[in-house]
Symmetry: C2
Subunit: 116 residues, 2 copies
């Protein structure tokens, strides 16, 4: 384990990291990733499962693909997508955990305020 030091981050690195977060900052894209959840699915299946429009889902899938978060495979008329970077699960889990803790804190505050 290396000692932790204030490491210098270049503007370019900051842009890359920010872009990754930006890709994950749209509810519909999160919904797609959550629906995909390790299983391969066609665009049509994703359209039905998410309730989005075909054009919209296709656009979001391309953004996810460009970001390297999903991979795709063509078979006949269908294109099948699957999650290609397990990072997205780690990220969402970390966020959910943090949001959960915050909720508990808020509930506690309300309880304390109302006197239980």
């Amino acid at each position: 384990m290396k000692k932790k030091q204030p490491q210098q981050l270049t503007e370019e690195a900051l842009e890359l990291i920010a872009t990754t977060f930006r890709v994950l900052s749209e509810p519909m894209r999160l919904k797609i990733l959550h629906t995909l959840d390790k299983d391969e699915m066609s665009v049509g299946e994703l359209v039905e499962a998410t309730g989005g429009s075909q054009a919209n889902i296709s656009k979001h899938l391309n953004i996810l693909f460009e970001a390297g978060m999903v991979s795709r495979r063509k078979e006949g008329l269908n294109t099948f997508y699957r999650i290609s970077d397990e990072m997205v699960f780690d990220l969402c889990e970390a966020v959910c955990s943090s949001l959960g803790k915050r909720l508990i804190t808020q509930q506690q505050a309300i309880k304390n305020f109302t006197g239980r």
Copy 2:
């Protein structure tokens, strides 16, 4: 044949998670968080350290505050900010790890293409 049942995430939950990612999707906010890195700093110190304008840093700090990622403390003319949610470190580390892996893969591909 029914697919496995993905756990249901409400639209509201997706919005919350997406908002968290959106807050982290700006290079300047990442720079602020990276500069803060566990140490408390005043707005002026952050302005100097990041090279941003006072208005811009102040605006970003407020966004980070509203998102619960930093806390603040007033003392005289100064306002001191510090990171209040360690989650941001976990998230950035996960992203950096993923980006690093992707870079290695790309370098490998280039090596293979050029014949080592």
